[in-house]
């Protein structure tokens, strides 16, 4: 199983109403992006961290590891915004490079940090959703939000197929390994190519068999399924309302400032 997928099934927040989690994550993300406030980003990061690690029971090391992935990317990309090459040195730091300076201003550093934290807080909102909500629950929310049926059905089948094809590729790769199929770069490349072509053929065969199985159960072109129901709780709704109201006020305040 893919780790994130596995974690969400073990999360203590897994049985919380999916619409509540979705609403919380999306509204928080929206306020984060609109306000671009440093304080709000820190607040959102902290709250999402507490919810995912303390309430959801996701190990801190895992959460931190996953947070580091976008952080590395963000730091590298924001460096381009912070550092300038200019004939005039800026106020924060300057390294002479011949007649030019590798330089940064306090304003650009502040802007860079703000961008990093805002992006990280936004990612943490999505992490909150994906660490605590199985994909099938997310899809049921999308359905309730009147997302086109075709899109939701495709996502449902693709999600299932990811795991089926991963299983097949793992078995093929294991079989290739057992016969020295990855002995050197040349054989590895050849083995990988063979695996991809076999995967395509297997995927086609599987989709045919799956379609037959669905037809056998009176499939008429529409994937009708029931979802498990986890009713929303009044206290949770109140907490979400309170927190989002706070973010709303902070957003207005940051824009008026």
């Amino acid at each position: 199983m893919i780790t994130i997928d596995m974690l969400c099934y073990y999360s203590k927040l897994r049985y919380m109403n999916a619409m509540e989690k979705f609403t919380y994550a999306m509204l928080t993300l929206l306020f984060c992006v609109v306000s671009r406030s440093l304080a709000m980003a820190v607040l959102v990061l902290a709250v999402n961290g507490i919810l995912t690690v303390r309430k959801g029971g996701i190990p801190f090391s895992r959460y931190w590891h996953y947070l580091m992935i976008p952080l590395t990317f963000l730091i590298l990309s924001t460096l381009a915004v912070i550092i300038n090459i200019s004939p005039v040195p800026f106020d924060a730091a300057a390294v002479p490079l011949g007649t030019y300076y590798l330089t940064a201003s306090y304003a650009s550093i502040r802007k860079g940090i703000q961008m990093i934290l805002t992006a990280l807080a936004s990612v943490s909102c999505l992490y909150f959703l994906s660490f605590n909500t199985p994909m099938t629950d997310v899809l049921s929310v999308l359905k309730k939000l009147h997302c086109p049926d075709l899109l939701v059905e495709l996502m449902l089948l693709i999600y299932r197929y990811i795991f089926l094809l991963l299983d097949i590729s793992f078995c093929i790769s294991l079989s290739q390994d057992s016969r020295l199929g990855n002995r050197d770069l040349k054989t590895s490349m050849r083995s990988f190519g063979t695996m991809v072509s076999v995967l395509l053929i297997r995927a086609m065969a599987r989709s045919g068999a799956l379609y037959d199985a669905m037809e056998a159960r009176c499939y008429d072109g529409r994937l009708q399924v029931l979802d498990e129901q986890y009713p929303p709780k009044r206290t949770e709704i109140l907490w979400i309302f309170f927190f989002e109201s706070l973010l709303f006020v902070l957003t207005i305040w940051s824009k008026l400032k």
Partner: protein
């Protein structure tokens, strides 16, 4: 008036390669309501192809299939009606389970029958309870074990309340524990009067379980009869790559050695054979305690 067969195949042919060769080659048989039929035969003898024909997925190029005396109607409406009555459980559950959620997966078939969501929910809960799926109902389907996937795939069909359930090698790739579990579920189905068609290579299980055995060979019915009739015909068994059930082999051997009386009815399971042997022991003990019976 004789009973109408629930399913009848009349000289059916099916080809996967534009009639160059035939997987079903003039197959004819009759199946009666409430029977437990084991389909046996070598790999490629046409068992799975016939099952797909029974469900209307494969349409025979020649010949006719009948459900309750009515020829199959291959219109969209006719197929939906047929498939609501004839359910098939595929050999590989990964070819059947399309959803990542057990609950969604089981609800799919019954919702397609046009049942209201409330009623469907009740039915799904019932079948989850009946097939002991509750402990893993919240797991995603890709995280289930082979046996659990098989349980879900049976629930998929059972929830639709079909008249006929077709099981294509239900115990394939299962460990003994899950094989026993699946066999227990199959027993429950037959107790409920559902007609069960099962393909299997397990001769011991077929002898003990089935009312009737259908031996297929090269797309035709080689023999259809009671398990004892079929499994005592060694020539036919060799032709279909099958061995005689262990219990019959042991019984025959014990009879040849004079330990058991050959006039005893053929045992269908180890329990009966054990009973025969117990009887010898009992009569032997009686002789020992009373060595000179009065004449």
């Amino acid at each position: 008036m004789s009973e109408t067969p629930i399913l009848k195949a009349e000289n059916i042919y099916y080809s996967y390669d534009n009639e160059k060769s035939h997987s079903l080659n003039g197959l004819s048989l009759e199946i009666f309501r409430g029977r437990k039929i084991a389909f046996m035969g070598a790999n490629g003898s046409g068992k799975s192809t016939f099952f797909l024909c029974c469900n209307g997925i494969n349409r025979p190029s020649k010949g006719t299939l009948y459900y309750c005396g009515e020829p199959y109607d291959y219109s969209r409406k006719g197929l939906l009606k047929l498939r609501s009555k004839v359910g098939i459980i595929f050999q590989d559950p990964d070819n059947q389970l399309f959803s990542a959620s057990v609950y969604q997966e089981i609800s799919f078939g019954i919702l397609n029958l046009g049942v209201s969501p409330e009623e469907a929910r009740q039915e799904v809960e019932q079948v989850i309870d009946k097939l002991e799926i509750t402990p893993f109902r919240h797991k995603p389907t890709h995280a289930l074990s082979g046996g659990q996937k098989k349980q879900v795939s049976i629930a998929d069909i059972l929830v639709m309340h079909p008249d006929i359930i077709i099981l294509d090698e239900p115990a394939a790739a299962l460990d003994p524990k899950h094989t026993i579990l699946v066999n227990k579920i199959v027993d429950q189905l037959t107790e409920e009067g559902i007609t069960v068609l099962m393909s299997t290579h397990d001769v011991d299980y077929a002898l003990a379980w089935a009312d009737e055995i259908v031996l297929l060979h090269e797309g035709q019915v080689l023999m259809q009869g009671s398990p004892l009739d079929v499994f005592t015909d060694k020539e036919i068994l060799t032709q279909t790559n099958l061995a005689q059930p262990a219990v019959l082999q042991l019984f025959e051997s014990l009879c040849k050695k004079g330990i058991l009386d050959a006039s005893l009815p053929l045992p269908r399971d180890l329990h009966t054979l054990e009973h025969y042997i117990e009887n010898i022991q009992t009569s032997h003990n009686k002789e020992e305690t009373n060595p000179c019976p009065q004449k």
